[in-house]
Symmetry: C2
Subunit: 501 residues, 2 copies
């Protein structure tokens, strides 16, 4: 073959020399969305092939904390065991606010209604949930507990619209990184159902007819282009584009700050999104991204206050760490410091060598050391201390449980400035799809034969300021399953088609 | 014909029953970009047809203030006559900062280098520039003067990166709305060069071959679909999408606030962008938009200070009005008030019935009336007054020319809250293109035969916080011309092509 194939240009059906393989459902990417799509499609009786560019399954999900954001319906068994009630209405209200100005109401509704069933399904796949709750504020459980506060549930404005409940359901595992446990279980489950997996297989281009109806895909396997026919459809579950600097520059320039230390398994190169666009798939929220500079654990950090270079506070410090990061990034020059007194002083577990930009016996000293305008930081701390005494933060509505006057010297300012503490993150924009997986064109019409799920799509998480841990695995698994079922239910194209030469 | 045509789906060449007309260059939209593209293509000897959905030329440009953002090269004749020098370097630095995180360096360079020549060209088309300067802060000249400060040139941070010069070049006209003068002159010029214009002509779908190479267009003329062949290419100059609620919801949800009172000639329905996407054109910055709630004239308003519902200032009030609006929109609940004392009290000319939300003999009274947290607004005003006395604003770097202590009662707060003062604006995202007009796919490869300019593209203005008046007419005319020249220089397809049945 001398032809070159690239994700941004479809291979036309007439140019397919022959089919090297046929399958009902072709899934691109063996991460959380791809694994769940494959399991459901295979369970429905379809033949399924998964192409994975890496040498093994897992994608970015395998490197994650292994949390699913779940709740509603009175509470999952895990929530109930820990004594938390959670109504579907509160769960949906939280998700609605989390989705930001472009929230997808239909996705929110389906997910909130279906989360309990989804939890049972995850258990049925063998994922262990011990059912114990770990209090406090954590990125993910470091014990083998399986329920944590993993978002902004207890924090304003989320607490004002939805009764808080912890919804971060982590797979049981001592230590961090339960994503690997989950992906091993799901991949083995898929393979047990007869799903065929090709590793080291790079998807190059979709195969489409002249009306952009998708018929299959060209992949590089063993160094050669292979033409794989998908009788029912192709499901793109190939992740986002945080690894693709050129796409970031063009589509998500603000996300470049998160690309220095990207949160990724290494293959979020945007090829899934580009393949979808090549046949008319529209994209949305391409500028959106998750980013974080974790402050906790320990949750002592939350008792400090952030100020920008004007000496102003700018957020309730008990918000989710990713929300705080997005607010930090929009302060002048992205500069912010966490102010602590001796009583609460600590360093972030994930940044033990954090730069202490200023220390002083008085807040005036700290202010001067930081080079801030005289009196502003001092005013901010004075007001905060008065609010803490009074037990109410009228400015940012920080929960009183995290408020205490910062009065015990010495005082310190920890740098969350870009040069001292780079952000890490990933993209949230992608293909526009029906919740059931159909990739939509700019008019909202489905592209025949093409489906997508996970971070290749613009899904449930689509607003960096509203992100919660567990929402990506939740979204990828839930809507990956839906896409798998949708495609499996589609009639198979005639396998004796004469369209391939 | 019973087939239906829609911008999001191309009509395949094989499905064209016959060509109703042929032209070298087919321009969609007779606004600023389309008119300039047509003039240049016709001047280069190409046959040109312009399709305009309205009953006459002009588009949104005809409703504008008729300003071009120009400078550099030592200064335009207008700048020089008014005593202003303007280096290309300063001009480019300003544009670079104005472009925001996703600035297009290549466009900035071409525009800054070419603006002087472009000014001469505009004069050659007959556009009158009287050459006199109107001091102060204006949205557009209400006199027949032709040079104003039309952006954030004198305001931080722009003033810190580029030596300020006024660059808003308006066509000479007593009163507002010089855009009509400009569009009449340009349209007559185009028609005089032999450009054929079809009014009440709605572009329905691009005609493309199976490789998405564009060959022409289907338009509804006299109620019938007409197939128009473009031998050299199609140039999409069909405006943005502020009139398309469905596109706003999907692609620019935050811009919905500006859609209540959109800045448009009425046909910014996104059809140009959708046609480009239908053949693989990529889009970027789709979430970006310009919005404003003009505070000046009179420029007395700039001597007030804005506070949010925390009683905090949040911007230097001497920034461009559109920048201020974007900052207002991101304050909690989009709420903000302009504080004025008796010495400077005024109302915006464009909002003479502005809601005065609070009046008091002391700032404490105003704070209480607004229901703000006790002491915060008072602190903000006290600090501001001290900064004004000292002649330096260390927080927001407002220019001292606009600072004076707010100490003369009574004191007032003017509401810039959403329910009292809706924003107006338009979209900035669109097709990704070469500066020379070629529409690019997701891989950055040109879509053969397809070009675009103006608000159908993501052009020079692509960041609401950096917008300046005159940048859209400047961008549309400059890059419209470039696209016209590019297409005219392209070899014409064989006019006896047998591809049309």
């Amino acid at each position: 073959m001398t032809a070159t194939y690239t994700p941004g240009t479809p291979c036309r059906l007439a140019d397919v020399p022959h089919w090297d393989a046929e399958t009902d459902v072709l899934v691109v990417g063996f991460g959380i969305a791809g694994a769940c799509a494959a399991i459901e499609a295979a369970s429905a009786g379809a033949s399924v092939t998964v192409l994975e560019v890496a040498s093994t399954w897992g994608g970015s999900a395998a490197l994650s904390g292994g949390e699913f954001y779940l709740g509603g319906g009175g509470g999952t068994p895990v929530q109930q065991a820990a004594g938390f009630e959670d109504s579907t209405e509160d769960f949906a209200s939280y998700l609605r606010l989390s989705g930001g100005p472009g929230v997808d109401e239909e996705r929110v509704g389906l997910y909130a209604e279906g989360a309990l069933d989804h939890f049972r399904w995850l258990q049925e796949q063998g994922i262990p949930f011990k059912g114990t709750f770990l209090p406090g504020k954590w990125l993910e459980p470091m014990t083998d507990d399986t329920l944590i506060w993993s978002g902004s549930e207890m924090a304003w404005p989320f607490s004002a619209v939805a009764k808080p409940a912890p919804r971060g359901h982590a797979a049981q595992m001592e230590g961090m990184g339960a994503g690997k446990v989950i992906m091993d279980l799901l991949a083995e489950r898929a393979l047990g159902l007869g799903v065929r997996a090709e590793f080291d297989a790079r998807a190059l281009s979709l195969v489409a007819d002249t009306d952009n109806a998708v018929q299959g895909l060209v992949a590089r396997i063993d160094g050669q282009p292979r033409f794989i026919r998908a009788r029912k459809g192709v499901i793109l579950c190939a992740g986002g584009f945080i690894c693709n600097q050129e796409m970031l520059r063009r589509f998500a320039p603000e996300a470049l700050v998160a690309a220095e230390v990207p949160t990724t398994g290494g293959n979020d190169d945007g090829s899934g999104i580009r393949m979808g666009m090549s046949v008319g798939g529209a994209v949305s929220h391409m500028h959106e991204f998750f980013a974080t500079k974790p402050l906790f654990p320990p949750d002592n950090m939350v008792r400090g206050i952030f100020v920008n270079q004007r000496g102003q506070r700018f957020i309730n410090e008990d918000a989710y760490h990713g929300r705080i990061c997005r607010y930090i990034l929009r302060q002048p020059e992205g500069r912010a410091w966490l102010l602590m007194d001796n009583a609460i002083f600590a360093r972030p577990d994930f940044r033990p060598d954090i730069d202490i930009a200023a220390v002083g016996e008085s807040w005036e000293e700290v202010e001067t050391d930081l080079g801030l305008p005289a009196g502003e930081l001092v005013h901010t701390v004075e007001r905060y201390n008065a609010y803490a005494e009074a037990g109410e933060d009228p400015l940012f509505h920080k929960h009183t449980q995290w408020m205490q006057p910062l009065v015990e010297p010495p005082f310190a300012a920890l740098s969350f400035c870009p040069e001292d503490y780079p952000a890490t993150g990933f993209t949230l924009g992608g293909l526009t799809t029906q919740p059931t997986g159909e990739v939509l064109d700019v008019d909202g019409q489905p592209v025949p034969g093409l489906y997508a799920a996970g971070r290749t799509t613009c899904g449930l998480p689509r607003w960096g300021e509203g992100y919660s841990s567990g929402i990506s695995l939740g979204d990828g698994s839930f809507f990956g399953r839906l896409a798998g079922r949708t495609v499996a239910a589609r009639p198979a194209a005639d396998s004796d088609s004469d369209q391939a030469a």
